[in-house]
């Protein structure tokens, strides 16, 4: 008869799934990678031919995330691969969508004037579209992983996008700059959040001296 272990009570599959997702995002590596990609998409809102390469950049970022994440976690909290389609591709895809949606809406609203992406026709609320997409993606990540900082990023997406919609900038900032600046600020927040998360993770999760155990 098996003696009771000192383990916690049996967890549901949902708990294991949430903890697996938490394992993928808690080290902060995903924030850094998504932050860099957000910067790229921000530049692409000014130099729109870069958007054509955005999918390539997305895959490059997803590939770059894996070794960074493994290096941080494998000797501290172990190594685990989530099924295909889990972090970081959904977040990276959301950033790309956040860039494409307002650009697409602006294209539709300006083409009628006969000058595609004419600055005079740019709606100032374009950043709000981007903010809504990012807010949803961060909230979804928070729900899946239970990691609180993604709720903060979700709220920040909304707040920053509304700011860049409503604030009365001077003539030096044109309507397309509002969208670009929104992405730049979000990139900065992501990089800062990722840096803080990574520093805390490294400080609180010591490296194990050797791989624990062996299958006999």
């Amino acid at each position: 008869m098996t003696t009771a272990t000192k383990t916690q009570p049996a967890d549901s599959i949902t708990d294991f799934r949430r903890r697996a997702y938490r394992h993928a995002v808690e080290d902060g590596a995903i924030d850094l990678v998504v932050g860099v990609y957000t910067l790229m998409v921000g530049v692409a809102t000014q130099r729109r031919f870069f958007l054509a390469l955005a999918v390539v950049y997305l895959m490059a970022m997803a590939i770059a995330w894996k070794p960074l994440h493994d290096r941080l976690t494998s000797l501290r909290t172990g190594y685990a691969e989530l099924p295909l389609g889990a972090a970081p591709i959904p977040l990276l895809s959301a950033v790309l969508l956040a860039g494409l949606v307002p650009i697409g809406v602006v294209a539709v609203s300006t083409i009628a004037t006969g000058a595609l992406w004419n600055l005079a026709g740019w709606p100032t609320w374009a950043p709000v579209l981007a903010g809504a997409v990012l807010a949803w993606a961060f909230l979804d990540t928070a729900r899946r992983s239970g990691v609180g900082r993604f709720r903060f990023l979700s709220a920040a997406s909304v707040a920053v996008s509304v700011f860049f919609w409503l604030f009365a900038f001077g003539p030096g900032i044109n309507p397309s700059d509002r969208l670009t600046l929104f992405f730049f600020v979000m990139a900065g927040l992501l990089l800062a959040a990722g840096g803080v998360a990574m520093a805390r993770f490294v400080r609180t999760r010591p490296v194990t001296e050797e791989e624990a155990g062996d299958v006999r």
Binding site: I13, Y79, E210, E211, A212, G213
Partner: protein, 109 residues
């Protein structure tokens, strides 16, 4: 005073859940591996809360039954034991769940 037997109840239905899967430690290991593609020994140990020796023992049994595939690799100079739930393991977990749900539904209130 003994309770009247519940029509359709059958002790064999409860006894029929696979004991290999039914053990709480092994069930935790299978559940942990069911939600990831692959994971290493350290990850599973942390997630299940099992001790090193306990987990090794459970993994030996699960590997012998063909429910978990064990691969020993190196990452640089650091050994890594990678674990993966096999299709047979997924099926065993699925069957266990269905039988347990069925058995529990037949228990008297």
């Amino acid at each position: 005073m003994s309770a009247d037997p519940v029509p359709g109840s059958d002790p064999q239905t409860i006894a029929g859940v696979e004991r290999l899967v039914h053990e709480p430690g092994r069930l935790a290991v299978l559940a942990c591996l069911a939600v990831v593609s692959r994971a290493d020994f350290l990850y599973v140990m942390r997630e299940t809360g099992l001790s090193q020796g306990n987990l090794s023992s459970h993994l030996s049994k699960l590997e012998a039954a063909g429910y978990v595939a064990v691969e020993k690799t190196f990452v640089g100079k650091v050994p890594r034991t990678v674990l993966q739930l096999t299709e047979a393991g997924r099926e065993a977990l699925r069957t266990y769940r269905n039988r347990l749900v069925d058995a529990l539904s037949r228990l008297p209130e």
